[in-house]
C-alpha cells in the first residue's frame, strides 16, 4: 500500500521490548505487530508505559530496548513521523515555516515544490490563508491541525501519534479524528490514546496494555473502515468490552500499587 506520493507503508514488528523504571520493569520481552497501512490503537491506564512503547518505536526512548523492524527485517530509520500531545509548533515561526521545519533542520533547500506542498497540506487541514500567521494567532484545534499537516509534510509511511487530540475540546477532537483518518489512509499508524471511543472510531486494531510488567492483550478488531460514525451499533457493543478490559487493567495497576505500598 502507498500513501499519496510517498513510499510503501511497511508492516512493523517490535520484539523483545523492555524498559525499567527505578529498577522495576515497566515492560519486558514485549512483542507488538503493526500491520501495513492500518491504524493500530493502544489503550491502557496512565503510567503503564504506552508512551514509552511508542517512543521506543520512534527511536526516542532513553533506557528502553528492543528490536524494531519492518516486515523485511529492515530498520525504520527515516520512515517514521512523530506527533505528540502538544502541537510543538515553534512560536517564532510562521505556520508555513513550521510545516517546513523538517527540511530546515536537515539543512535541505526549501524549494518552491516544498512550499507548494505545504500550501496544499494547509488547505487540506482547513488552514488556507493562515500560512503567514504565527502559532499564537491560532486556536487549539487549529494548532493541532497545523501539527498534523507538519507530520504529513514529511511524506513518511509510518506515523506514530501520542495522544494527539487529547488537549482539544470534544467537538474539535471529533473533527480532527475525521480529518486524520482521511489523511493517514494507507499509512502504518500507531496511535496511543486514553479515549476508548477514539480508538473505536479510528483503529483497525485496538490493544489494551496492562499489568506490571505490562502485557498486551489480543487485539480487538472493530468491523468496518475508520473513521466509524458515532453510535455505530457494532462499536457500542465493543465500547462496553473495551471499558471492561480497561477497568480490569486499572484494577491490576492499583493492586500492584497497593502491594508496593505494603512492601
Amino acid at each position: 500500500m502507498k500513501p499519496s506520493g510517498g513510499q510503501t507503508a511497511p508492516s512493523i514488528a517490535l520484539r523483545g521490548a523492555h524498559l525499567a523504571f527505578e529498577g522495576e520493569p515497566l515492560f519486558e520481552d514485549l512483542a507488538l505487530d503493526l500491520p501495513a497501512g492500518e491504524i493500530t490503537c493502544l489503550l491502557g491506564p496512565s503510567g503503564v508505559g504506552k508512551s514509552s512503547l511508542l517512543r521506543l518505536i520512534a527511536g526516542l526512548a532513553e533506557g528502553a530496548g528492543g528490536r524494531v523492524e519492518d516486515g523485511g527485517g529492515r530498520s525504520l530509520t527515516g520512515r517514521v513521523a512523530y506527533m505528540a500531545q502538544q502541537d510543538l509548533l515553534l512560536p517564532w515561526l510562521k505556520v508555513r515555516d513550521n510545516l517546513l521545519l523538517g527540511p530546515r533542520l536537515r539543512g535541505e533547500a526549501v524549494t518552491q515544490a516544498l512550499r507548494d506542498r505545504a500550501a496544499g497540506l494547509l488547505a487540506r487541514v482547513g488552514l488556507e490563508g493562515r500560512s503567514e500567521a504565527l502559532p499564537r494567532a491560532l486556536s487549539g484545534g487549529m494548532r493541532q491541525r497545523c501539527a498534523l499537516a507538519r507530520t504529513l509534510m514529511e511524506e513518511r509511511p509510518v506515523v506514530l501519534m501520542d495522544e494527539p487530540f487529547s488537549a482539544v475540546d470534544a467537538i474539535t477532537r471529533h473533527e480532527l479524528q475525521d480529518l486524520a483518518a482521511g489523511l493517514l489512509a494507507a499509512r502504518t499508524v500507531f496511535l496511543v490514546t486514553h479515549d476508548p471511543a477514539e480508538a473505536l472510531r479510528l483503529g483497525h486494531r485496538i490493544h489494551v496494555m496492562a499489568g506490571r510488567p505490562a502485557r498486551l492483550d489480543e487485539a480487538l478488531l472493530p468491523p468496518g473502515a475508520p473513521p466509524r460514525p458515532l453510535g455505530d451499533p457494532a462499536c457500542t457493543g465493543l465500547l462496553a468490552e473495551l471499558m471492561a478490559r480497561l477497568s480490569s487493567a486499572k484494577r491490576a495497576v492499583n493492586r500492584s500499587g497497593d502491594q508496593e505500598a505494603a512492601e
Binding site: 520512534a58 527511536g59 512523530y82 505528540a84 510543538l88 515553534l90 533542520l105 499564537r136
Partner: protein
C-alpha cells in the same frame, strides 16, 4: 493618567527634595536645591554633555562587548560539553572576584582612557548575560528536541534553529539586567582613574565644592541609564516578538 504618571512622580520627587532642603536647612554645598541644580544643568550644558558622551560611549561599548562575549561563551558551553568542564569553574571563580576590586588593575593595564572603563562595564555584565543565555539554551523544551530528532535534524541545525531562538527570551532577561548594571561599571571605572566622563566630573565637582554640578551630572547619568534601559527593553520586545505567548504558556 498613565502618560501623566511619570511626570507626577517626577514632580513629587522634586518637591520632596525641596522640602528636604528646607527642613534640614543644609548649606548649598552639602545639598543644593533643585533650582540651583537646574541652573547648573542649563549653564554648564555643553561641558556636561561632552562628559556625558564619554560615559555613554563606555556604557554602550561595554554593553555590546559584554553581550557578545557572554553569548559566545554560552554557545561554546552548550556546543562543546568538554569545554564546559574547563570553562564553568573559571566562570564561577571569575565571579567570586569582585569586579570593583579589579578596577585599579584595569586602569593600570589599560590606562586612564576609554579602554579600562569599557573593560569594567564588559566584566560586570559578562556573567549575567552568559548565565542567562546558557540557562535558556539548556532548557529547550524536550518535546521540541524529540520532534527535531524524529525529523533527523542535524545537531548544528538544532542549535541554530531551535535551541538559540528558544533561549532568546532568557537571553533578553540577561541583557535587560546588563543594561541596568553597565552604567555602574563605567562610573566605578571613572572614579578609580580617568580624565573625562560623568563619574570623573562628579568626583572633581565634589572635591571643589561644586555640589550643584555634581548633582547635575548625577541627574544626567540617571536619565541616560533610564533611557538606555527603556531602549533595550523596547528593542528586545520587538526582536523577541513571540515572548508574550511563551511567558503565559
Amino acid at each position: 493618567m498613565r502618560a501623566l504618571r511619570p511626570l507626577v512622580i517626577l514632580c513629587g520627587l522634586v518637591l520632596l527634595w525641596q522640602a528636604l532642603v528646607w527642613l534640614t536647612a543644609a548649606p548649598h554645598y552639602i545639598l543644593p536645591d533643585p533650582l540651583r541644580v537646574g541652573t547648573a544643568l542649563v549653564e554648564r550644558w555643553p561641558f556636561l554633555w561632552g562628559h556625558a558622551l564619554v560615559t555613554a560611549a563606555e556604557i554602550v561599548l561595554g554593553l555590546l562587548l559584554g553581550t557578545l562575549l557572554g553569548c559566545l561563551t554560552a554557545l561554546t558551553l552548550i556546543a562543546l560539553p568538554p569545554a564546559r568542564r574547563w570553562l564553568m569553574p573559571m566562570l564561577v571563580v571569575s565571579q567570586a572576584i569582585p569586579v570593583f576590586a579589579l578596577a585599579p588593575v584595569l586602569v593600570l593595564w589599560l590606562g586612564y582612557g576609554l579602554a579600562s572603563k569599557v573593560a569594567m562595564a564588559t566584566l560586570i555584565i559578562y556573567f549575567p548575560v552568559t548565565a542567562a543565555f546558557f540557562d535558556g539554551l539548556r532548557r529547550t523544551e524536550t518535546g521540541w528536541l524529540d520532534l527535531a530528532r524524529s525529523l533527523d535534524a542535524r545537531p548544528a541545525r538544532i542549535l541554530w534553529h531551535l535551541r538559540v531562538p528558544a533561549a532568546l527570551p532568557a537571553l533578553g532577561s540577561g541583557v535587560r539586567i546588563a543594561s541596568a548594571v553597565a552604567p555602574i561599571g563605567a562610573v566605578v571605572g571613572e572614579w578609580v582613574g580617568s580624565s573625562a566622563g560623568l563619574g570623573y566630573l562628579m568626583l572633581q565637582s565634589v572635591g571643589r565644592g561644586k555640589t550643584d554640578l555634581m548633582f547635575a551630572a548625577l541627574l544626567l547619568l540617571a536619565v541616560f541609564a533610564v533611557l538606555l534601559y527603556e531602549l533595550v527593553d523596547w528593542s528586545l520586545k520587538r526582536a523577541i516578538y513571540w515572548q508574550r505567548e511563551t511567558a503565559v504558556a
